[in-house]
Symmetry: C2
Subunit: 164 residues, 2 copies
């Protein structure tokens, strides 16, 4: 079975069709395990989210569905699919961009942390325990119980720094 690329690899040029097919395969498995219905629409939306390593807006997805698929789609159609995919841990929402990106490791539930390049707009997903631990420590010091974390770091990726 193919593997998801590491953050380093995902930044380099690569055969992205493998990312997509692996993501869809992994999604099939997750949904099967959860007894969730991975419908044609949901699969297509996930495929579109995975069309690159850049976060994609809901209305971008909507436009593609209407234009390329000839599917009549209004916003709720897309948002419902995205809600489902988020519930299954297959996509993450990037709050600072109002956009969505495929999860790089859907087999275990987590909230990603993201490095977002201001130049090329790639979003590199991390799941760094060092960050989670630091947050947990601070939260604990304030008697705060963590339920969810939004960690979105903007800056320049390695590729774009070299180019500049």
């Amino acid at each position: 079975m193919t593997e998801f690329l590491s953050p380093q690899e995902a930044q380099q040029p690569h055969d992205h069709s493998r990312c997509v097919s692996h993501a869809l395969d992994a999604a099939e498995q997750v949904c099967a395990r959860e007894g969730a219905r991975f419908t044609v629409l949901r699969k297509r939306v996930l495929e579109l989210v995975w069309q690159s390593h850049k976060p994609l807006g809901a209305y971008d997805i909507l436009e593609t569905l209407s234009r390329d698929d000839g599917r009549r789609a209004a916003p709720p159609t897309v948002y419902r699919a995205l809600d489902f995919l988020q519930e299954q841990g297959l996509v993450h929402r990037i709050a600072s961009l109002n956009a969505f990106i495929g999860c790089a490791s859907p087999e275990h539930r987590h909230e990603g942390q993201f490095l977002i390049c201001l130049n090329c707009h790639i979003a590199i997903e991390l799941d760094a325990s060092a960050i989670t631990q630091a947050i947990a420590g601070e939260a604990n010091a304030h008697g705060f119980t963590v339920q969810g974390e939004t960690v979105e770091i903007s800056g320049l990726c390695a590729q774009c720094q070299e180019a500049a």
Copy 2:
């Protein structure tokens, strides 16, 4: 001169008028230092943002300006004031809530980290070097140059846990 309250203190019942007046005083100083104009509108918007320790939406501010102040205000009026206040480091925007909150330490420039209570909606501002360091470490490991960070932790604050 009064001081801003610590996160712990801000969560307790307190004389909030002191928070407001201190925030306005501090803002005067920051603007004076920067040679920026702290106009009536900007001051009033900052005061409204500081009306509690909960993030406030732009349209909430707008409504108050129109209703209580009898000031004719459209969205750009509020957003421009908020933009200015953010530039001066006097308010932070909470991306996950589309809302704004007064900065607890405007004397030095920073992006806050926030603990946001899902129950009472208070937002506790941190500036924890442990978190910043952890993020810097991970970013560095990926050759990523950090320019901005969004760290918003949702959960239950100490008060609300006790209550439950």
